[in-house]
Symmetry: C2
Subunit: 228 residues, 2 copies
């Protein structure tokens, strides 16, 4: 005889678990509210009672993934400049572990344009980058006048859009990683002191070379094909 709240919590959990199962198994397609209700052994009205909408369920699922990311993120130890790039690489690693799932959840969660999405994804990320920027500034890699919020927002957005491109199948994971690294290097270098610049400039050259090599082979946006 479970308490009312306990029963509710159990249903919540059953729904989230069913959502996870469905996403892992079939990705975004085949994951309908009716299928979810069936898989969770619950009426179709219940997910709406407990979560409100399909998107809210996706966000709840996303939350569990975010927690995992946060844990691994906390374990990273690199200097105040290197950490930017390692954080990016960590994300790509996690995506590589369950790509279809992450694509599906990103795709669904972004549904309405991401207003709610940002509540669980955008804002915490933004604060994370802001923290890193602040530390890099204190370590003397970035100019003292740089405002952490402004720079962090640019970093955060750039990361976000590249993730979106990957989720939508436009680029592969390794290209995601390289592109974000490159843009991060450029943005940071735009705000860097001499000591920061000395570390970032070689990075920019190296990354740019790799990106250019790739484009000259496979990217349709290479000049030769620009007419399409």
């Amino acid at each position: 005889m479970p308490t009312r709240e306990e029963a509710k919590a159990q249903r919540r959990e059953a729904i989230i678990n069913a959502a996870l199962r469905l996403m892992y198994a079939r990705g975004d397609s085949g994951f309908s509210m009716r299928a979810l209700a069936d898989a969770a052994g619950v009426s179709i009205a219940t997910p709406y009672n407990l979560f409100g909408s399909k998107q809210a369920i996706m966000l709840a699922v996303l939350d569990t993934g975010m927690a995992h990311y946060g844990e691994r993120l906390a374990k990273l130890h690199a200097d105040e400049l290197e950490i930017f790039f390692e954080a990016v690489s960590l994300a790509t690693e996690l995506y590589a572990e369950a790509p279809k799932f992450h694509q599906a959840v990103l795709f669904s969660a972004y549904g309405d344009g991401g207003r709610d999405y940002r509540a669980v994804f955008g804002d915490p990320r933004f604060l994370f980058w802001k923290d890193l920027v602040t530390r890099a500034r204190e370590a003397g890699f970035l100019h003292a006048e740089i405002d952490p919020s402004a720079l962090a927002l640019a970093l955060s957005q750039q990361f976000f859009i590249c993730i979106l491109e990957w989720a939508y199948g436009e680029i592969e994971l390794d290209e995601l990683e390289q592109r974000v690294h490159y843009t991060f290097a450029l943005l940071l270098n735009g705000a860097a002191t001499a000591s920061g610049g000395a570390r970032l400039k070689p990075r920019i050259s190296a990354l740019q070379q790799r990106l250019t090599d790739r484009w000259s082979i496979s990217d349709p946006r290479t000049p030769a094909d620009a007419s399409r």
Copy 2:
């Protein structure tokens, strides 16, 4: 007795015009395929025959807006560095002229995540920025080793995501303009020569000041409210 092709072209036009009318009048809401068919005086099957999907119709509508932007863009004359910022400001001006319409069309066209969207929006924009980057490099504002594609991609994406944020109601038009200007200045400065940097650095300071002022008043992501 119009030719078969003429009749088809007329229907196409009627549909696009109806779409424009509906978007201007009611924005995204209330713009359904059935409403569109009614407004165009055509069966609901016809838009699918002629365009294939709702999104394709949105893209066609977007195309007409793009043509307008292109015309006004070509008339801009500023030096190789200033032009970046003027191009951004021009876009915000156009959005300001018919905000609801642009928001609606952006919102709808981006529907499936923007695969097709990029065909009409992303790629031409990318090529435009790449051209500007190339010229700025030739003018000596950017380092010779900078790859125009890599930098242009970063600029293009950053612009894109800020536009998206505006379309989704997250920021106002003037904030869109300032944010893009700021990030552009940072990115360009990250790739700038001494002469380019001399022009960009003051810009960064000024823009950052304005962005920071704004945040300290209204932005929920300011540290004081970060707990939400």
